[in-house]
């Protein structure tokens, strides 16, 4: 089943490349993948630790390299996120003027690559699948983008290539730091080896730093974030949805999957650095977001800012906060996809996303206004949406880290600042909504057309996912928490 979920989009992409009808094939493949994921979700064994649905093909016994896939609670949620966003991204793509087949194939490659990375238990394929997904992202921006698309594509390519390169160095060092008897590409074996104390603390410091910077660049950790807003502003909506919603989360997933269990001592050593950087994401980038004058740039910066909360969960490395981080990864992915989707539809109609030129659009396009409103309030952490559930777990988990009755320490201060970040994000989100959808409508927009009725399906899917997880976060928590319980209790 896991193999089907990984390869369905990839095979469909290949079929489209050789001439299958682009949109129909893509939509069928993404819906099938989503259905299969729902089946996995329904049959997932809650109480079990470790990976389920494991399949393994040995490639090189000498190197202990094998194509091994499987899911545990953590990766299942990532896969669910990927498949939901894929359905929506494909659905929103609509008709493409140039090279339609290549466009849809790229979307499906991103999706398949991301799913493959999330479901790989093998380090090599974990990395390779991510690279597979990155390349079509660059193409989507460079070929089908808008505005200054070539410059944006160059920038994201250079940044992410450097990030991947540093990450690769980190992974190689990690592999090398195990004594030969314990070397393996299998993440499960490595985890076991670490719990026996196989990596010296000194080596962990270097490795973690490389992983942090490598993954950090991929997730737009401050100060390596400036590629993101520009790339998302130029990218076609579907590409922005898939990258900001899914692929970017690979870096966070990597930190949770590899850095925390394999180099815990390194993580502890660099905690202060990470806290400072993530506050850069929350406060500094939050302020930059307030100053934005265009909707797409605002969304791009806001997605950078919200990464700070997830990093806060990762930095505090408590079961509660890391579980919250996973819930927030899911929630942010779905909500930012919704926002980019609607913003893309607006750009298609108005040709501009500058706040000064927009206004009152909810009167002309009530459904777009409603959908965007859901996204806005999810993003600012309104209870009832998944984002709130994730954030609150992160806040509680982080605040608890190192608490004493006589004063605030670094994590308490960071939590307080992060809470102020909630106010900052309320300011820029509501201001953007006000300037785009509320107020008086200018004459030129009175003729705009409402979203196609069929788009109600992906919007309902995204909003439904946010609300289900927001009302019943326990379903997610029950799946994810055991993963971290094993990791975090084994190490400290």
């Amino acid at each position: 089943m896991v193999l089907f979920i990984i390869f369905c989009p990839i095979v469909a992409a290949v079929l489209i490349m050789v001439g299958a009808p682009a949109r129909k094939t893509a939509l069928t493949a993404s819906v099938l993948t989503f259905a299969a994921t729902l089946y996995l979700l329904a049959t997932f064994g809650d109480g079990e630790h470790g990976f389920q649905h494991v399949t393994s093909f040995t490639i090189s016994p000498e190197w202990r390299l094998s194509f091994t896939t499987g899911i545990d609670g953590l990766s299942l949620i990532m896969v669910v996120l990927a498949t939901i966003v894929t359905v929506a991204a494909v659905w929103f793509a609509g008709t493409v003027e140039r090279y339609e087949n290549a466009f849809y194939a790229c979307l499906l490659f991103i999706s398949g690559g991301a799913i493959g990375a999330f479901a790989s238990i093998d380090l090599f394929f974990f990395y390779a699948f991510h690279e597979l997904a990155l390349i079509p992202t660059f193409l989507l921006i460079g070929i089908w983008g808008s505005g200054n698309r070539v410059a944006a594509a160059w920038k994201i390519t250079i940044y992410l290539a450097i990030g991947s390169f540093i990450l690769l160095l980190g992974l190689i060092l990690l592999y090398q730091s195990f004594p030969p008897a314990f070397r393996s590409f299998d993440i499960r074996r490595l985890t076991v080896a670490v719990s026996l104390g196989q990596i010296p603390a000194d080596a962990q410091h270097h490795i973690y730093l490389l992983l942090l910077i490598g993954f950090g660049i991929l997730v737009s950790l401050f100060p390596f974030h400036t590629w993101a807003p520009e790339a998302y502003a130029s990218a076609p909506a579907s590409a922005a949805m898939l990258h900001a919603g899914v692929l970017k989360k690979f870096g966070l997933y990597g930190l949770l999957r590899l850095a925390i269990p394999l180099v815990p001592e390194g993580a502890r050593h660099w905690t202060t650095l990470l806290v400072v950087l993530l506050l850069g994401n929350i406060i500094y980038v939050g302020l930059v977001t307030i100053a934005q004058k265009r909707l797409d740039w605002m969304l791009g910066y806001s997605s950078v800012m919200h990464m700070g909360y997830i990093f806060l969960g990762i930095a505090s490395a408590t079961i509660l906060a890391t579980t919250g981080a996973v819930v927030l990864i899911f929630a942010h992915g779905v909500s930012i996809a919704l926002l980019f989707a609607i913003a893309g539809e607006l750009r298609r109609r108005t040709g501009t996303l500058a706040f000064d030129e927009l206004g009152g659009l909810a009167r002309i396009m009530p459904f777009a206004g409603l959908a965007f409103g859901f996204g806005v309030f999810a993003a600012i952490g309104l209870p009832g949406f998944a984002n709130f559930a994730g954030e609150i777990m992160i806040f509680f988990g982080a605040f608890k880290h190192g608490w004493t009755m006589d004063g605030f320490h670094i994590f308490q201060i960071a939590t307080v600042l992060a809470l102020w970040g909630v106010v900052i994000s309320t300011v820029y989100m509501l201001r953007a909504y006000r300037k785009t959808f509320m107020g008086t409508v200018s004459e030129q927009w009175k003729q705009l057309v409402e979203l196609r009725p069929t788009l109600r399906v992906p919007v309902t899917l995204l909003v439904g996912a946010l609300i289900c997880c927001g009302f019943f976060p326990q379903t997610f928590v029950r799946m994810v928490a055991p993963t971290f319980r094993t990791y975090l209790t084994a190490n400290r």
Partner: protein, 599 residues
């Protein structure tokens, strides 16, 4: 009783809001019918639970990681919450019905009723929540529905701005509230009210910590109940439809801050320092809002400032450590203020959305029933015996007299001001000559709006009498000194009314002009310049740094490229992105291959 039965109070409006949003947005009549049915179900359930003294409700887990964190969803059904549930759902029901008339021809009627149902869900959730996180959840949802309803006419710039202002300002209060909740959880290890109360002794050894926690939690109430210095959003919230002003911005939501403080009194009352701050914040708000109200010309804004002022009284009572007095005033205020707003709504609708009192005049003859009920509300508000406001305000004044003379003096002065501005409004709106054509041509509102007025007028009259109120609340104890305080209060009332009559009888324009009060002490101007010089300045500086230093530095650095793939590929100089990306892919594969397999 079935364990799920009490949940019906919450579920009915939630189902209604969902059903309207999903299915009946186009059918306005069905939407309003669903919404009214839901609020009636809530009201009947609340009454049954109120009558049935021992009720238990099922409990669920919202988030639970064993041994680490547990947020239950459970109901508190004590005397306090049962009374409050009846009050909220009862007034809610009256206002739903009134809205049928007020919003009859509105194009967004379905959206309006969906939001109203969601509001009932959220507000009743605050009332029955049994732990801090659940309280906070509903607290935020109430803020959201308030945003939606203030911005109901979102295509008007003023309404859109007011909605944003309300939500953002209350979020600033919630920032403190959340920190307070986090600290309570850390200090006591629980979020459930019933478990925290006996564990408060663990914080008692750290008086400073306790004071900070109490004040942080109070921040939440400052935002939601619009207390100084976060009071600025409430007058602007009057841009919403008038029934919303009555339900949310007078009778229920803004009182949620007071209710919350009473609910967590075990935290607040542990710290005398915090109590003193709370009492003074309430006092300052009461007198400041009353001063501003004396110079306003918009009928709804006058009522909004009077709401601020009365909320100040309630917060004052909380700060003077009397939950009974605070809840008593909350109870009577809910009736008479809802009544006043609905009366004002009746006037406004009949005058085709004219809100300036100087364009009214002589309406007592045109709208007799509206006038009579408005008069009842006004007399209750100024604390004229035997109307309900007299008893509840007297309870607070007596309390202040006993515990803090300075606060008592200010409170008494506020009572004088209240009488002054209310009588001023009454004279200008209902007496003298009609000062505009629409005022001359107006007539009485339809029955669907009049009947709610009469119901509320009855309650505003009866609400203060002990025989009535005691069946809902535990009333504050009467003391020996009590005779002296009401005498002073009535003197203040007579002085205020007398002054208003002397100044405003038969006037056609404002005889007094006090810039400072007319401009609401310049709070809006102060805050916007504050925001301009802090947040906006920081934002623009950050954006500049991001663009010209971080971005330029990083990109410049990588393209000058001493290392990394950027420089490597610059050598290739293809300039064609597809070729570039292809090379990149090849390169990565090659690196992996050489790095791992040929090490």
């Amino acid at each position: 009783m079935n364990l799920m039965f009490p949940w019906l109070i919450l579920l009915a409006p939630l189902v209604s809001a969902t059903a309207i949003t999903l299915f009946t947005l186009r059918w306005k009549t069905s939407s309003s019918a669903i919404s009214i049915a839901a609020v009636l179900v809530s009201f009947i359930c609340s009454c049954l639970i109120f009558a049935h003294r021992t009720v238990a409700a099922a409990e669920f887990t919202w988030i639970g990681i064993s041994g680490v964190f547990h947020v239950p969803l459970g109901l508190t059904l004590d005397q306090l919450s049962r009374t409050m549930a009846v009050l909220v759902s009862g007034i809610g029901a009256v206002i739903h019905i009134y809205s049928l008339g007020y919003m009859r021809d509105d194009e967004g009627k379905s959206r309006y009723f969906a939001a109203l149902s969601l509001f009932m869900f959220a507000m009743l959730g605050i009332v029955v929540a049994n732990n801090f996180v659940m309280l906070f959840i509903f607290w935020e949802l109430v803020g959201f529905t308030s945003y939606v309803l203030i911005g109901h006419w979102f295509y008007r710039d003023a309404a859109a701005d007011a909605a944003n202002k309300a939500f953002i300002t209350t979020r600033i209060g919630d920032f403190g509230f959340m920190i307070g909740i986090l600290m309570v959880w850390m200090a006591t290890g629980s979020l459930v009210f019933a478990e925290i109360a006996p564990r408060m002794s663990t914080i008692a050894g750290h008086p400073l910590l306790l004071t900070i926690v109490a004040l942080l939690i109070f921040c939440g109430a400052v935002g939601k109940s619009a207390q100084f210095p976060l009071h600025v959003w409430l007058p602007d919230a009057m841009e919403g439809p008038t029934p919303v002003s009555a339900l949310i911005h007078a009778a229920t939501m803004v009182a949620a801050g007071v209710y919350m403080l009473v609910r967590v009194a075990f935290v607040i009352q542990g710290s005398p320092a915090a109590l003193l701050v709370v009492a003074w914040i309430g006092t300052i708000t009461a007198v400041m809002a009353a001063l501003i109200a004396t110079q306003q010309d918009d009928i709804k804004r006058i009522l909004a400032y009077s709401t601020l002022s009365q909320l100040g009284y309630m917060i004052m009572a909380v700060g003077l450590a009397s939950n009974d007095a605070a809840m008593f005033h909350l109870f009577t205020h809910a009736f008479f203020k809802a009544l006043l707003f609905l009366g004002a709504g009746s006037v406004i609708v009949m005058l085709h959305h004219e809100q300036n009192i100087w364009n009214m005049g002589g309406l007592s003859r045109k709208l007799p029933i509206t006038f009579a009920s408005f008069l009842v509300g006004a007399l209750a508000l100024i604390g004229c015996p035997p109307f309900s406001g007299f008893f509840s305000k007297d309870a607070i004044l007596a309390l202040a007299y006993e515990r803090n003379t300075a606060i008592f003096a200010v409170a008494l002065f506020t009572a004088f001001l209240t009488a002054f501005y209310v009588i001023r409004m009454l004279l200008i709106v209902f007496f003298g000559n009609a000062r505009s054509d629409i005022a001359r041509e107006s007539h009485e509102s339809p029955p669907v709006m009049i009947v709610p007025l009469i119901v509320l007028a009855l309650l505003a009259t009866l609400g203060g009498f002990a025989f009535f109120a005691r069946s809902f609340l535990s009333l504050p104890v009467e003391r020996e000194i009590a005779i002296f305080v009401p005498a002073l209060a009535i003197a203040a009332l007579i002085a205020g009314s007398g002054l208003a009559i002397a100044l405003y009888r038969n006037r056609a324009s404002e005889p007094v002009d006090l810039e400072l009060l007319r401009h609401k002490f310049y709070f809006d101007e102060l805050y916007s310049s504050l925001i301009h010089w802090t947040q906006e300045l920081l934002a623009h500086v950050s954006a500049f740094v991001d663009r010209w230093i971080i971005d330029a530095g990083a990109v410049g650095g990588s393209s000058r490229g001493a290392w990394g793939i950027g420089a490597l590929l610059r050598l290739v100089q293809v300039g064609n992105l597809q070729a570039y990306v292809f090379l990149f892919g090849l390169g990565v594969v090659a690196i992996i291959y050489f790095a791992i397999f040929r090490f």
